[in-house]
């Protein structure tokens, strides 16, 4: 690991003032310390922001406000979250291990890097790690890679579970930027696709600090489900995951949310399938139809064609699960 300076700050403005191109913010460290050990990231200074930003989980009017420093576990076991946003809790508990959920911050979950094996292997080309060096996964070991939204620059997937529920529930991300102005980014626009800059994972402005994540109360707290398919039952990244939530009026679907992890460079919403289901009956036939609609144009890579059928099944299972809550 490269030697670095360590600074602890007590406020966001202090952190912004210290930040340079060669330094990085640190909170939980569960991803960053690992990346530093592997020399994938080599900051000259770390700025500890754990005391600079709120770690509270609060109800503000009819909104959930998650302080950026709130640990994943704190969010998952919060009573307001369990009551009004159980999908968030369920998705968090499907990820990582109890130890990591105690350490990792909410903002850090959004900003974690991909687990594409080539990103971690510094002897191989990877556009995300070294811009314009090429993508090793596209013609290499890509069974864990994307099936949607990728291009020839990068086929990595975003590894989060937490983010899938935040995408499904249309959260917003608030950050402060270097001139101390506050900005709000809708969750669907927070993460990005590889485009021509696969080394950037999101649209957070340079040096900005995430301060909180907000989610408005909604009617998706009764019929919801998070299905995660992985290589082992627990403590593994998703091959595919599906967050599903239904707002039902009897059998009729008033509104629906469907999002997936493990399929794209960003948390992925199945908007076409959602549109199809709105106003229809919550029946298995309609769920199967919606799953087919979601997967019909997906183009797998050489080793991950299995994900398409798996995803179709996971969507149907998740929607059925919504009815069994």
């Amino acid at each position: 690991m490269r030697p670095f300076n360590f600074e602890k700050v007590n406020s966001a403005p202090e952190a912004l003032a210290l930040k340079s191109a060669k330094s990085q913010y640190i909170s939980g460290g569960t991803n960053l310390v690992d990346l530093m050990k592997k020399n994938i990231t080599q900051p000259e200074a770390l700025i500890d922001v754990t005391s600079a930003i709120s770690n509270s989980v609060e109800k503000k009017n009819t909104k959930l406000t998650i302080g950026a420093m709130a640990s994943n576990n704190k969010v998952a076991k919060d009573n307001y979250v369990l009551d009004k946003f159980p999908l968030i809790s369920k998705s968090i508990l499907a990820g990582a291990s109890p130890q990591i959920r105690n350490m990792a911050s909410s903002a850090g979950n959004l900003l974690q890097r991909t687990r594409c094996p080539y990103f971690y292997d510094i002897t191989t080309p990877c556009n995300k790690r070294k811009p314009n060096s090429g993508c090793s996964a596209i013609d290499g070991g890509n069974r864990m890679s994307a099936i949607a939204g990728y291009n020839d620059q990068c086929v990595a997937v975003h590894p989060s579970d937490f983010c899938i529920s935040l995408a499904a529930l249309d959260a917003t991300v608030t950050a402060v930027i270097p001139d101390n102005k506050e900005i709000v980014i809708p969750f669907k626009d927070f993460h990005k696709l590889p485009e021509t800059t696969p080394w950037l994972d999101n649209h957070l402005p340079k040096d900005a600090i995430i301060t909180k994540i907000d989610v408005a109360e909604n009617r998706f707290n009764k019929n919801y489900s998070y299905v995660k398919v992985r290589d082992r039952t627990s403590y593994a990244f998703a091959l595919v995951s599906v967050a599903a939530a239904l707002d039902l009026n009897g059998k009729k679907i008033n509104d629906v949310r469907l999002a997936s992890g493990g399929v794209a460079h960003k948390p992925w919403r199945w908007y076409d399938a959602e549109e199809f289901l709105k106003g229809k009956s919550a029946t298995e036939d309609n769920f199967v139809e919606a799953a087919k609609l979601a997967t019909k144009d997906l183009k797998p890579l050489s080793e991950n064609a299995y994900k398409i059928q798996m995803l179709e099944g996971a969507i149907v299972t998740a929607l059925q699960d919504c009815l069994n809550q």
Partner: protein
């Protein structure tokens, strides 16, 4: 034509000249090496930390890169916490930070000031083993023992958190601790035993 190996006056002068030149350079080479090293390998940063580990306050001079795991093992000789993968994948380094289980291999020592840290060495009450330590012995919760300190720290937290409702729940909440000997059944039994006490 046969070439015989022989030393001419010319080669003797060449070689001895070179050797004399080499003998003259060490100090300048050394200085040059230091310059290059300074440029290529940044100087390490050492800071003074006070950490509360197993209810004892320790003041140490620590390289900023030091993880909590390396600090307890290498500087305090508390070698109970184990380095399995060093990347947060195996749980062998599990300790309690402010009463919650955490991975010491991914925790920077610099970020551990002001926190209450408990390692496996701090679990027993004097010579009296912690109930979970006793249960691991009684239920065969280990074979080689390498993952055991991490398993026990995680198991204690698992009971404190109340995730012992079923075998499935225990397995889910112990999934961050791998055991390559496969002592999982004994580990689950140990946890059930302590949870029932």
């Amino acid at each position: 034509m046969e070439h015989k190996e022989q030393y001419s006056r010319r080669s003797f002068l060449k070689i001895s000249g070179l050797l004399a030149a080499f003998a003259a350079v060490p100090s300048s080479v050394k200085a040059f090496y230091q310059d290059v090293k300074q440029y290529l390998i940044p100087k390490k940063n050492v800071s003074r930390l006070t950490l509360n580990i197993n209810k004892t306050s320790h003041t140490l001079y620590v390289d900023t890169r030091t993880t909590l795991l390396d600090l307890v093992r290498e500087q305090l000789n508390l070698t109970g916490s184990k380095k399995g993968c060093d990347h947060g994948q195996c749980g062998a380094c599990t300790v309690h930070i402010n009463g919650e289980r955490a991975l010491s291999c991914l925790t920077l020592a610099s970020m551990s000031q002001g926190k209450e840290i408990t390692t496996i060495e701090g679990l027993a009450n004097g010579k009296e083993l912690h109930p979970m330590q006793k249960a691991f012995i009684e239920c065969d919760g280990f074979q080689c023992g390498y993952c055991t300190p991490g398993q026990i720290m995680s198991a204690v937290a698992c009971v404190n958190e109340g995730h012992t409702g079923s075998v499935e729940e225990i397995k889910e909440y112990m999934s961050g601790n791998l055991c390559r000997c496969g002592a999982y059944n004994g580990i689950v039994q140990s946890i059930q035993k302590v949870a029932a006490q």
